[in-house]
Symmetry: C2
Subunit: 422 residues, 2 copies
């Protein structure tokens, strides 16, 4: 329905899973909605690692927000950046203007955190945005190109050594795919360097890979990674990162010209924006209905919200963000009707992680799958949730082609590194 100027204004910051699902759930509500995102697209983050590892092209895992929402006449999409939130006067400052709101949904998500070592960022890029993915792709493919140029064996080995920091789902996916690229995709294409000699180190501060998964699945994943040629280092916190490699807390040194960061996560809003209490990762302790304490007109959702259920925090994954998004939309409608919103309840539909070709782990609330069956489950689930019919078809073709040929479809280096890499 078309927006009516007298309707309350719902301002949504962020077009990820949280923000997009709020927006969709407000389709038939008597509100004017403005969705602000700093990029023009919704990103299907669960497959972003495949863009970074040259399996998919960027547009395969992204769709323009205004295209997704084109039929929703009560919404305006703006590409802009949030500069500040003034809760007292209900205004949000953007890079290109100021917007007032009646209801505010904050869904700007998380970014990677370097535990106070921001100087590590230029040596060890993280994976959150499309530009991150293209930068990582440039580093990975560029490292093999650099190895091919080197005449000395030592310099070549340093280019053929990769460290992935953090063994959560993203770290596992990156390390597994890197091993496949080195062992299967590239070998016959180089004359001087031997990609098959590449070393892939997966370095994790904790005692196991995939800490959110049940222990047997984590153990299975570690063994599978090792069989693929990934060197898994547990209890190995990183204490230094530079252009030549990383140092571990026991003093060991791993020489590697390419370090990828899949460890810390931090919220992407400055602490000063809210006077609500926050946890160590910067997540806001929200009220049971996801609103901000003392600000019932403000909801904080997705990776930004700290919600505990059954004694532990709900996981920061896409499913959670979607559920919170739908809940926030219902809460706004409840408020409009003078009702008190219900408390948010997280429904656990299970977690899953891909390791590589034909290998994944799936935990559906106790029902566990590993290996090829899990991988099919992972594949169908991701394809199903991927937004936009055309993307699904092209992604399916890309995957089938990769599977049959071991090739990667997007081995194209774009952009320039603005760092000091040789």
């Amino acid at each position: 329905m078309n927006a009516n100027a007298s309707w309350p204004h719902v301002l949504i910051l962020g077009g990820g899973f949280g923000g997009l699902w709020v927006t969709r759930a407000l389709r038939r509500a008597p509100v004017r909605v403005t969705l602000v995102d700093r990029s023009n697209h919704h990103l299907f983050q669960p497959l972003l690692y495949q863009v970074a590892t040259a399996g998919l092209s960027g547009p395969d895992v992204a769709a323009p927000l205004r295209h997704i929402l084109r039929r929703q006449r009560n919404i305006t999409v703006l590409m802009d950046e949030v500069r500040g939130i003034d809760l007292a006067v209900r205004k949000v400052a953007l890079a290109h203007g100021v917007l007032s709101y009646d209801y505010l949904i904050v869904a700007t998500g998380s970014t990677h955190a370097y535990f106070g070592h921001d100087d590590w960022a230029r040596h060890a890029p993280g994976l959150k945005t499309m530009d991150d993915a293209l930068a990582i792709r440039r580093r990975i493919l560029g490292a093999f190109e650099s190895a091919e140029r080197e005449s000395g064996a030592g310099a070549r080995d340093a280019w053929l050594s990769f460290v992935v920091v953090g063994a959560g789902p993203t770290g596992v996916e990156l390390a597994g795919t890197l091993a496949e690229i080195a062992r299967h995709t590239l070998p016959r294409e180089f004359r001087n360097a031997d990609p098959g000699r590449a070393r892939i180190h997966l370095v994790e501060a904790g005692a196991r890979v995939l800490p959110a998964m049940p222990e047997p699945l984590a153990a299975w994943t570690r063994r599978r990674l090792q069989r693929m040629g990934v060197e898994v280092q547990l209890d190995a916190a990183v204490t230094a990162v530079d252009g030549e490699g990383v140092t571990l807390k026991d003093g060991r040194r791993i020489d590697a010209r390419t370090v990828l960061w899949a460890a810390g996560v931090s919220t992407s809003l400055p602490d000063a924006q809210f006077d609500a209490p926050r946890d160590r990762a910067g997540r806001v302790h929200v009220a049971p209905d996801l609103s901000l304490p003392r600000h019932p007109e403000v909801f904080v959702i997705g990776d930004l919200a700290r919600v505990e259920q059954d004694g532990k925090p709900v996981p920061g994954i896409a499913t959670t963000a979607k559920q919170m998004g739908r809940h926030a939309a219902h809460a706004v409608r409840d408020r409009l009707r003078g009702r008190t919103p219900r408390a948010f309840r997280y429904r656990d539909y299970g977690t899953l992680a891909a390791i590589g070709r034909g290998a994944a782990v799936v935990d559906l609330r106790g029902f566990r799958l590993t290996g090829f069956v899990a991988w099919w489950f992972w594949l169908v689930a991701h394809l199903f949730f991927l937004i936009g019919f055309r993307n699904r078809l092209v992604v399916l073709i890309d995957w089938a082609w990769s599977y049959l040929t071991w090739q990667r479809n997007a081995r194209i280096i774009v952009g320039n590194d603005r760092d000091s890499r040789g």
Copy 2:
């Protein structure tokens, strides 16, 4: 066959159509070949405008050079940049080293030229590389996003005004596609700006569009563009370009926040590299066999070479570069056998240009096609010549999908503009 260290070394600079076709034609020659390119991929330039206009994704029109050439055992591919050529000692300085050669093929192609106004470059990007295409895509999509953010009608109109400078094939393709995006792809997706009000100006210094095409086809193209909503300005040389628009030689001013450059072409090697005579565009006057005067071991091909045939220069198109590439390879083989290479003869297979959905012009040595039939011819020809089976399939799906839905499949803004655009 595997390379033998005693074989002569053929060094090829540039992996475009010229360089790649030399390399392939040397497959069975008793030579060691090194192909150097500053990017890791061969680019199918005839479709690059579709990446710039968000119809195709980057990897659709590019393939890694070392993947294309993986079975050719006598070749090494290096990703590196040429810094200088020393003809006297037969060495080429690269950013990461120095290579000697017995035979040198220079095929580094052309870049856009601003007729001495290099400061125009940041306001009016040209289209030669993948990064150029992504930068232009960012500008085009970003302009509509900016228009949606503006509250004043004047500022909105400036963002909805586009100037394409130069009405050769690239300029015609860009202008036609821009008109389609504005009229058909975007309209329903904006709430504040009206993309249908966008003005697309195609500005040409000469007396007609498509100067290399027969006059009736040029006239047909101009009428077709006008019917699509493109404002074609002929005899309109540009005398100034800034962030607010362009000034024409008769003093007229076109306000436009987005200016795209499809006019001048210049060679991408500095003039100082060769002591051979050059034409105004910097092209080297080569010997009839494409070698450099007084340097029979050096061949200059593709857009870098000035060759006249039947009283006029051969056109700087992909077909020419491929023919020159094959010729240079034969010439090297002739020299190795002590024979004198033949003179290069350009074979004109015809020229073609796309204007938009269902519209193209084709000139096959006098046999002319326009409209829908020409467009089919254009489509099949481009699909046929596109490198890599998988790309063809995905491109075909993308095209079919676009045709049926008027949508563009790659409307994803990546990277940051490092210029001063609002």
